[in-house]
Symmetry: C2
Subunit: 425 residues, 2 copies
């Protein structure tokens, strides 16, 4: 029988080993961990998980995309399996928990279930995925996308940010079946899985601000974007043109943004999931001056929501307000091409099971949307019903200051274990 | 007797000669005119005016700052004189009328008065000033400032934008009394003048928009500026942080500007003279991204008004709204040093005389503030009561497309003649 205290020690040991696999050290926390996608650190991390799994009697194999799969065999092995997992790569000098937390939580669940002596009805599979971060090749979710035939020739030709090696070279080097991937074969039949469960640290501050260790994820936000929207007014002498003859591009954009901010507040008050970001804005350095009415401003536009309908209505509001401001102020708005990333809908029944598990731990149940993307979105697109568990985390992600407590993690691992045990029946 | 049609032909001849003095040509209007401050074009332009003045029996001399002075002697020559004029230099590839219109109008007035055979009670002086534009030495109003001891050692050490010669070298070369200027002597006793009258093209679009050929100027706007105001919020992942946990610098600045725009509209509705310009704004290219909540925005701030009280209250509103937005949105505003240029108050009685002259021509009388600076401001600061007449002009100034019609100009010249004749009694 594996006691809870044993599991906690195992978790701490695994995180320490994974940190070491990524070149990290407790003595110099600032250097963070670097588990390069399809590189040495990631491969070492897969080995840490495989070694521990085998030591606890769990069979392992590498799938055709060179991801690690750990299996707790069920009684009826021909039934579709229940799957969990996350990724083991990291951004350069990143944090130790982004991705790895989900793999360690899955491994603890399998070890704990096996130790309890109960054989589940169906197999439980843990995936330790490779290549989720886009830092190395400029493309995210490589390891999961390869499983569903979603890597194109252009993806395989991508080169590594620092070594210049192609992704196809790296895939072959770590043992992936490059010919099948190149032919875009389905390496993992979506019908062979009943669902996908992924635990991940929250990459935002919501759980910290709410004082909650865990949350079920309602969905993965999609977004609608314009990389650049031009507002064209009319430049002029800042002293010589009165307000009624101005076509000031900066005041026009400020007016537009104030209106959009009003819509944003109303929409979230009505219960819609929505964030809006103007990450880039600027007058033209080639012609702007303190004493010149700005005739041109460029800005980016992004809205994110877990609902496609909300994204569409926010974009329609954006265009409508551009028209109103243009009409009122005699300016023109010229948006570049609309770019869409569809939201990934998580499975309501599965989300309900995660929420029940969280309540079962005596915790408040306040689900949140995921703003960042995850491998779970790839499983959703492939048709696998999915759900996610977020664990509280400070300082965002993709940096060495990323901070999850082991207490919070153990609660998350327990929630995952319960969902797997229930789903495997 | 000089007939009005003779004056019109003379005006056209003078403008053609001044255009040629600045290297301009009717065949290639795009090259504009270049009458470099204290350079060859400006000197040639002074010679054009002097030659014409002498041909019409008007005595001329160069003052101690090398400006040209044309005199219509009065009956009581010891009385303070009435003065008019403007500048003859231009920006490189500028328009032909910015400055020159005021000198030509003054010359026409003196020629016409002399031709009428009436000797005014007091002298009428026409100044063809040098060095008004800041393009050459980065300092404006050099010719008028020198007259009142307002050029400092740092001004005299300024170097020409293209030749690199110092201003003091150029002043000496054109015959200015450099030792007296260096000692900051008063070269022109303000008490020797009863007033200063300056005709100038409008550098903005107001008269064109109102369909008026002329306007009296109510005052020369001063301004209050911050070259750079920083808004500091908190950067973050654009998908992972909900609205209630954001400290978005761009939405904060948009909020601030929308509030200021509201104050602006209210203040002008109440009859205050005010323009406001955010000529420069931008997120930081070193850290901004479409998918990153902007943590930092920098922008310039400028308000202009003919009233110092209005400038002070607008600046106070600006700081108060910064505080409110900072409080509501959890951001900080850090303005750099406040820079002030005081408004120049024109003389109400003299402005009244200009307005009466405009009405006397059967024209609508709708005075406007001057947003750009003029030599008149230097005379005001020296204590000389001053007024200005604006002539309608298209396409702004400081460019070859600047466009004043001779019809409008002749109306302005006539208004100036009447003001001078009345003031000289």
């Amino acid at each position: 029988m594996t006691r809870p205290s044993d599991l906690r020690i195992l978790a701490e040991t695994l995180f320490a080993d994974l940190r070491a696999a990524g070149g990290g050290s407790d003595e110099a926390p600032d250097i963070g961990v670097s588990r390069d996608s399809y590189g040495a650190g990631e491969t070492a991390a897969l080995a840490v998980i495989e070694r521990t799994a085998r030591a606890h009697g769990l069979p392992c194999h590498r799938d055709a995309a060179a991801n690690l799969v750990v299996i707790l065999p069920g009684a009826a092995r021909d039934l579709p399996a229940i799957a969990c997992g996350s990724h083991l790569d990291s951004v350069p000098r990143g944090g130790n928990y982004d991705g790895a937390a989900g793999v360690v939580a899955g491994l603890l669940a399998l070890i704990s279930l096996r130790a309890s002596g109960i054989t589940p009805r169906r197999d439980i599979h843990l995936y330790a995925l490779r290549g989720e971060e886009s830092a190395a090749f400029g493309r995210a979710y490589i390891g999961s996308s390869a499983l569903f035939g979603e890597l194109g020739a252009d993806d395989l030709a991508l080169t590594h940010a620092t070594t210049g090696q192609t992704l196809s070279t790296r895939l072959a080097d770590v043992g992936a079946d490059l010919p099948r991937i190149t032919r875009r074969e389905t390496l993992l039949d979506p019908k062979s899985l009943v669902c996908w469960l992924e635990l991940h640290i929250e990459q935002g501050p919501v759980l910290l601000a709410r004082g909650l260790p865990l949350a079920a994820v309602t969905g993965l936000r999609g977004n609608v974007r314009h990389r650049s929207v031009l507002c064209l007014g009319e430049a002029g002498h800042s002293g010589a043109v009165p307000r009624w003859l101005r076509h000031d591009a900066v005041f026009a954009v400020a007016d537009l943004l104030a209106r959009l901010d009003g819509h944003w507040q109303r929409l979230i008050a009505q219960g819609h999931d929505l964030v809006m970001t103007i990450g880039v804005i600027g007058t033209d350095p080639a012609e702007h001056a303190i004493a010149r009415i700005p005739g041109k401003v460029a800005f980016s536009f992004e809205a994110r929501s877990d609902s496609e309908a909300t994204l569409d209505s926010v974009h329609a509001l954006f265009l409508a307000e551009c028209d109103r401001v243009a009409e009122e102020r005699g300016v023109r708005f010229i948006p570049d091409r609309r770019l869409d990333t569809r939201p990934a809908r998580l499975d309501p029944a599965l989300v309900g099971r995660v929420r029940a598990a969280i309540r079962g731990l005596g915790l408040a149940d306040e689900p949140i949307a995921s703003g960042a993307g995850h491998d779970a979105a790839v499983f959703v697109q492939a048709g696998v019903p999915s759900a996610m568990i977020f664990v509280r985390n400070a300082h965002g992600s993709h940096n060495p200051a990323e901070a999850m407590t082991i207490d919070d993690f153990m609660l998350g691992a327990e929630a995952l274990r319960q969902c797997l045990a229930e789903g495997a029946q």
